[in-house]
Amino acid sequence: MGHFNRRDLLVAAILAGTAGLLAPGSRTARAAGGGDDLTDLARLPMDKPDAPVIAIAGPSGPVRTVSREDLAGLEQTVLTTHMPWSPEVHHLEGPSLARFVSSFTQKDAADEISIEAIDGFIVTAPIAELVADGAVLVIRQDGDFLPVSAKGPAFVMFPFEERPEIADRSRFGRCIWQITRITIS
């Protein structure tokens, strides 16, 4: 090993990286059945940030369908936390549930929210409870919008890192992902 200098190692690393980047398109990688990133392989047209993907029904007025870019236009809250399914800490970003609700309804005009996922999973909860727990409608993880294959277009998360006392089964159950419809009533 002694005769490799630092430059040789750098060149080797760059070559290896390039090979890795090229691999997904190659037949050999496909034949082996591995090496690709599933999140990318399962991308959908609806994963585009400007696609209107979340239907929002308020207590009155027509149903509006918004894109992640619309939601990004609201005041953003940043959560730096681990998640029930991941001990690693991530930077999550999106409107707080309080901000989200107030932008679609008059103050105190609604007290319950029903959040529905693409697969039909539904979370229904008093808005006051979610707001008190610091719920955030996350649209970005570590700076990137999320495809459906990575829990997008949006998911609900709580500040578990900052408030360990709320890390319990009932809050975990409210961490709904792949959100497609929100009804405020």
Partner: protein, 430 residues
């Protein structure tokens, strides 16, 4: 720190042992309480995530993907539905747990890896549909994955329950231990409190005791425990040693102290009919009698003291010393009253002493060739504890007397100021 250690080493054996136990139990209780907190956090972590639901739900979504794939193969244009189902499943896969509360489920890790590979194969197949055989292979892989997740659901159910049960058992054990430690702490604490109270009582007794002679000191006159509750006729005698200074000067203070102890022993023996026998300070002693025939009992005590003093000083070679006794009597009317009585007895005693000193200097006592006195008190100073014990014993016998006389005779004596007709008597020693 060094001061603390010095204080600790100065504490008695039992107290020190109890303090050490207190620290030990407190330390263990803190450690136990931290363990309990950790166990509670673990129970919450283990039971917090519903793994069985996650696995079962994954299995349902695999089957839905299979159905969508089948539909797309039948040419019903179900590719979009299959792609959506694939994305849903890929998203779910990022949330499927393979460990709980830090405990890894290797079966779940393997199932997730397998499903990930199956999904990749399905994604490639959907992007570039090839043969019927490839579709069949993908479907078969997904079937195997669905079976694996069914198994995982059952496994998680029993394993998670077992983990929670074990953690709860540990928690219960630790809580029982903590309770036991707390009971011990409370017990040791109570014993320590009792010791502190006993120690305080001992110090209070020691403060009222003259350490040299073991007699009571002036503080007895302030302590209601030794005094009559109601008015009672009272007689006091102030006793002072003549030429005590000369004893000190000639034979040294140790011999002077021996003489004081000798007198204290005589007083204890001869004034047992009186109620208080105290050393006021220096070479001055006080005898008090309360209640009926107080004066008669005091006189009898003083007579006995004179006799005993003469006998003992001769026996032990104290030549040339004598006692001056001044007596006063009146009605007991509180501590101020007794102070006035003592003052009058003091005056009477000094009058007598002056008269006798003139006589003594004329007759030239305390001869130069006198042999050194040899009295050794049967008394104290062997150790702190022993002297303290002697002091306690002598005081408890002295303390009972006034209470007795006050109780039996106090009410029969009319209350009022110091009797104006009190007599002052001087007794002299031959």
């Amino acid at each position: 720190m060094g001061r603390l250690v010095r204080h600790l080493t100065g504490i008695g054996g039992l107290t020190r042992l109890l303090i050490v136990f207190t620290c030990l139990f407190a330390g263990l209780a803190i450690a136990m309480s931290q363990r309990i907190q950790a166990s509670q956090t673990q129970v919450i972590a283990i039971s917090g995530y519903n793994m069985e639901f996650a696995y079962t739900r994954t299995q349902v979504e695999i089957i839905k993907l299979q159905a969508a794939l089948l539909q797309s193969r039948l040419g019903d244009g179900g590719e979009d539905e299959a792609r959506l189902q694939l994305a849903i499943l890929a998203g779910r896969l990022t949330t499927v747990p393979s460990s709980v509360g830090g405990i890894v489920f290797p079966e779940a890790e393997k199932a997730k890896r397998d499903l990930s590979e199956s999904l990749k194969a399905t994604a490639r197949f959907l992007a570039d549909p090839l043969s019927e055989a490839e579709a069949l292979a993908a479907s078969e892989r997904l079937s195997a994955d669905a079976r694996a997740f069914t198994g995982l659901g059952a496994l998680a159910n029993t394993r998670q329950a077992g983990l929670v049960e074990r953690a709860q058992e540990r928690l219960q054990h630790d809580i029982a231990m903590l309770n036991l430690l707390l009971v011990h702490l409370v017990f040791v604490g109570l014993v320590l409190v009792a010791l502190v109270i006993a120690e305080r009582a001992r110090f209070a007794r020691a403060a009222e005791t003259d350490s040299l002679t073991g007699l009571g000191n002036r503080l007895h006159l302030k302590n209601p425990a030794y005094l009559p509750a109601a008015s009672a006729s009272t007689a006091v005698a102030v006793i002072d040693v003549d030429r005590f200074k000369q004893v000190n000067d000639r034979w040294g203070h140790a011999t002077g102290d021996d003489l004081l102890r000798l007198i204290a022993d005589v007083l204890r023996r001869e004034a047992s009919g009186c109620d208080l026998t105290l050393r006021l300070g220096g070479d001055e002693f006080l005898i008090v009698a309360f209640g009926p025939e107080a004066r008669a009992r005091l006189d009898a005590g003083c007579a006995g003291i004179e006799r005993g003093f003469l006998l003992e000083t001769r026996r032990h070679g104290f030549s040339g010393v004598g006692l001056s006794i001044g007596i006063a009597e009146g009605a007991w009317d509180g501590p101020q009253g007794i102070d006035a009585l003592i003052g009058r007895a003091d005056m009477a005693m000094y009058g007598e002493k002056n008269r006798r000193c003139v006589e003594a200097s004329a007759s030239g006592e305390m001869r130069a060739d006198a042999v050194m006195p040899s009295y050794r008190a049967p008394a104290p100073a062997r150790g702190r504890l022993l002297s303290l014990l002697r002091a306690i014993v002598s005081r408890s016998s002295a303390a009972d007397a006034p209470r007795r006389s006050a109780r039996s005779h106090g009410s029969s004596v009319a209350p009022g100021a110091m009797s104006p007709g009190a007599t002052e008597t001087d007794l002299t020693i031959a």
